[in-house]
Each structure stands twice: as structure tokens, then as C-alpha cells.
Amino acid sequence: MEDFLELLVSATASGCVYGLLALAYLVIIRPTSIINFAVGEWAASGAFVGVAVLSTLVWPALEWPWWSALLIVAAFGALVGYGTELLCVRPLVARGAPELSAILVLLGVLVIFREGNTLLFGASPLPSPAPFGFRRMLIGPFPGVSQQFLIIGATFGVFLSAWLFFERTVWGRAFEAVALNRKAAALMGIDLRMVGALAFAAGGAIAAVAGLLVSPLTSAHFLMGLPLATQGFTALVIGGIGRVEGALLGGLILAFVEQFGARWLPVPSGMTLAFPFVLLIGFLLFRPTGLLRAPETRV
């Protein structure tokens, strides 16, 4: 039982990280229809920036409190997303290029960020400090590491804010309106270019924060981006791009299948790496809309 509960906490924490990455994809896809695979590398950059602020490993004498690092990393991610939209996506949209062009350009952005991370921070993993250390603790019956509980709490906060924004604010509804019908949204007086830029900024901020949150458990290293990008994307496909809560659901399902599958299924341990891809292919083949559908868009 103890074993099960510990695995439950660990799987939930991983699922939350996948969910955050899926949310980073989702806030960009909804209004722009652009899949941005660079979010994984942005998460890695977020982790590195966090390490730089929090420790003396990269930059001397910058030992600031963890909460300030969280703000700096979020602002950094927002800036990266905003700048990417401005420099790499907007010129394409303005020329009427199809979404695929932007997706390919963003793959280029992915490579730039990966190599940039390696050049700036080196190829060896950097330990990332955790705000509450690495104490084992018990919350109710659930045993886990403090960072895992922090990840779960922070993810809950991020998703709650995202849900409130999209469902309860006029600007959130405006984002959704752009997703439903760009032309009609423009006729309302919504500035489509601004919505696109803000979507990328939000996606960048969420991805960078996810990277910072997970880095104490995995350490910050130049190869951390790709798995986050694929797991986040798989979570997105499982949950569907229609709803914010789908991203979290997809992340949790993916993490549970990975970790409980590895623990109890009679599969050699190396094979468990294939779980996300099996799920990804399965969902794309049999339920491409994901588990949670978008609200009906037909008029």
C-alpha cells in the first residue's frame, strides 16, 4: 500500500509536469492553430535560467530566493515566447503562409534553443536547488518528496488560473473566440496579432515554469527538452486540444500509464520508454480529438 501511494504521488507529479507542457502547447494552438514543439526547449531554458539565478554554478553571487526565481523564469519564458512570435511567426502570418510553415520555423527555433542552452550552460547536468529541499514528507497518507508536492500544488494553481481566465474573463472569451472563428473575432474589434503574441508569451511562461519546477528532480541539462516536448505533446493528444482541463487529464493519464505500467506490467524496463509513443499512436489512430472534445463549433 505504502508502495502504491508513493508511486501515486510520483506519477501525479510527473503527470502535472506533462500537463503543464501540454497547456503550453494548448494556449498557443487554440488561437493560432500552430503547434510549437519548441516548448520543450523553452522548459529547459527556464530550468537553466532558474539555476543561474538560484545558484553560483553559472553566474557568481546571484543567490536569490526561490520565489524571485519563479517570477524571473516566468517573465523570461513570456519574453522568449513573445519575441519568437514577433520575429518568427508574425512575418509568416502577415504573408498568408499556412500554419505548417510556422510549425517548421518553430522546429528551427527548437534547435537554436537547444544549441544555445548547450553553448551557454555546458553539456553536463547542473543540480537545481529545491525551495523546500529534498525532504521526504507525509501529507495525509501520501508519502513523497517535498518538490513533488510543490509541483502538484503549483500545477493546480496554474490550471485554475488558466481555467478562470478562459471561462470567466472577457479576454479569455476573446481568445476562445479567435480559436472558433478568426474572421468574426476580428469583426468584434479583437486585435488578432496581439492575441497571437500573448498566446506565445503565455505558452513560453508556462513551459519555462514547468522546466524550473521539474529541474530539482531531474537536474537541468541540455537533453531535458525533447522528452518534455514529446510527453507534453502526447498528453495534449490524449486530453484533446479543446479544453484547458484536457491538458492536465492527458498528462496524468500518460504519467500513470508510464509509471504503473513500468511497475506492474511484465515488460522489460527499457521498453517502458515506448509507452508514451504507444499511447500517442493509439490516440491519433482511434480518438484523434482526444478525450475531452472542444465545445461544438458547428453553427
Binding site: G96, A177, L180, K183, A185, L187, M188, T297
Partner: protein, 235 residues
């Protein structure tokens, strides 16, 4: 109120409309008549800055707005009720209307706009919490007009608002338009049928093949015989 000079443009390389001159004075109601594919909707797209490529000059309230982006035109008082309604089907009626007021100038209050639209269309008030996509075609058209009115426009453009509606609903919406005119709103309505233009406009521009071929009071057009003849005589 609105003046367009030598308006031209299109979606890709070829021009859909060319050499369009339009003029609307404050308080006027004007129709833009023409057969299918004449370029009427393209003129509206050019006026609302949603056409990918256009040239010519547009003056709105005496100001040159040729280079203004579409969202600024809405704030300046230009609203379009698009063809096929284009309401946000999964949203509630209230959310649709609220989005219509997203560019509302500071001088107005959103609550006042809700009051105005709900008085104009009591049925929208009854269905405020209903999903827009579940309403009848006539109600959706009322919502599309109400949504455009939420931005407190001074000029309302309507693109074939009566298409596919039952005669009773057409009458109802015509009555509402008459009331809007009485409130001082300037309207430009795109239509195919002369009878409807007669009922809601004083002057009409007739378009064929992307150009304005006639410009006359509606009554004069009606006296001059069948509009179909005019449409075909131009070819």
C-alpha cells in the same frame, strides 16, 4: 459619414472589386445591390479592413482610415454584421454580446449597451444564458445584429441579413432596422432583392462584376423595371 474612393482589391492576385466610389451621409440608409458574386461582400471586407489586399481611400467621419487596422475601425464606430451570421455557437448569448462590446469606447458603459440590445431584441434577453448555436436561424440573426450593436457603432454594415429567413422574421428584423434608423444609426445593407432594399434603404448602388454600374434612389430603380434586367444588361 463614410466615403470610399477608387476602392479596389481582392483575396489573391486578381482584383475582385475595382474602382468603387461610395458615399454615405450621417443618418442615411443605403443599399448595395447586385447578383451573386458581384463583389458586394468584398466591398464590405475592404471597408472593414479584413480584405487581404486593397487600394483606394476610405474616409470615416472625415478621417482617412485607409491604413487603419480592422480592430481600430470597430472602436471608431464601424460594425459589420457578417454574411451567414458568424456567431460564436458554443458561447452563450450573453458571452456573444459581451464580445461585441470588447472594443467599446470608454465613453460608453457595457451595461447600457446590454440594456439597449435587450430592449431592441427582448428574445435575446430571454435566452441570455442559452448557447447561441442552439437558437433558431432568426434568433441567431438577431444575435448577430445585437452583437454588432454592442460596440455602439455609428455606421452599421449588414451583409445579406435576411438570407434564408422566414418572411415573419424578415418583417421583424426590418422593423428593428427601421427603429435603429429612427435612433439615428447610419446603415449600409448588402442585398440581392430590390423589394428588401426598398423597405430599408433610400438609395442604392448596383454592383455587377466587381464594379458599381448604377447609383439611384431605390424608388427610381423600382420604377425602372426588373433589377434582373439591370444585372444582365451590364454583361
Amino acid at each position: 459619414m463614410l466615403e470610399a474612393r477608387a476602392l479596389a482589391g481582392g483575396y489573391r492576385k486578381a482584383d475582385v472589386i475595382a474602382d468603387i466610389d461610395l458615399r454615405l451621409d450621417a443618418g442615411e440608409s443605403v443599399a448595395l445591390l447586385g447578383p451573386n458574386g458581384a463583389g458586394k461582400s468584398t466591398v464590405l471586407a475592404a471597408l472593414t479592413a479584413t480584405l487581404p489586399r486593397r487600394s483606394g481611400a476610405i474616409l470615416f467621419n472625415g478621417r482617412d482610415v485607409s491604413a487603419e487596422p480592422g480592430h481600430k475601425l470597430v472602436a471608431a464606430g464601424l460594425a459589420l454584421v457578417p454574411e451567414g451570421r458568424q456567431i460564436f455557437a458554443p458561447f452563450t448569448v450573453r458571452d456573444n454580446l459581451r464580445l461585441g462590446a470588447i472594443a467599446l469606447p470608454r465613453a460608453h458603459r457595457v451595461a447600457d449597451r446590454f440594456d439597449y440590445v435587450f430592449t431592441l431584441f427582448p428574445r435575446l434577453a430571454e435566452r441570455a444564458s442559452q448557447r447561441a448555436g442552439t437558437m433558431s436561424g432568426g434568433e441567431q440573426q438577431m444575435l448577430a445584429i445585437g452583437r454588432a450593436l454592442m460596440s455602439a457603432p455609428r455606421l452599421l454594415l449588414l451583409d445579406e441579413p435576411f438570407l434564408g429567413l422566414a418572411p415573419m422574421i424578415v418583417e421583424e428584423i426590418l422593423a428593428t432596422l427601421a427603429r435603429l434608423r429612427a435612433d439615428g444609426l447610419t446603415t449600409l445593407i448588402v442585398e440581392q432583392k430590390l423589394e428588401i432594399a426598398l423597405a430599408c434603404a433610400t438609395r442604392a448602388y448596383v454592383m455587377v462584376n466587381g464594379r458599381v454600374i448604377r447609383h439611384a434612389p431605390c424608388a427610381e430603380l423600382a420604377a425602372g423595371g426588373d433589377l434582373q434586367d439591370i444585372y444582365f444588361s451590364a454583361n
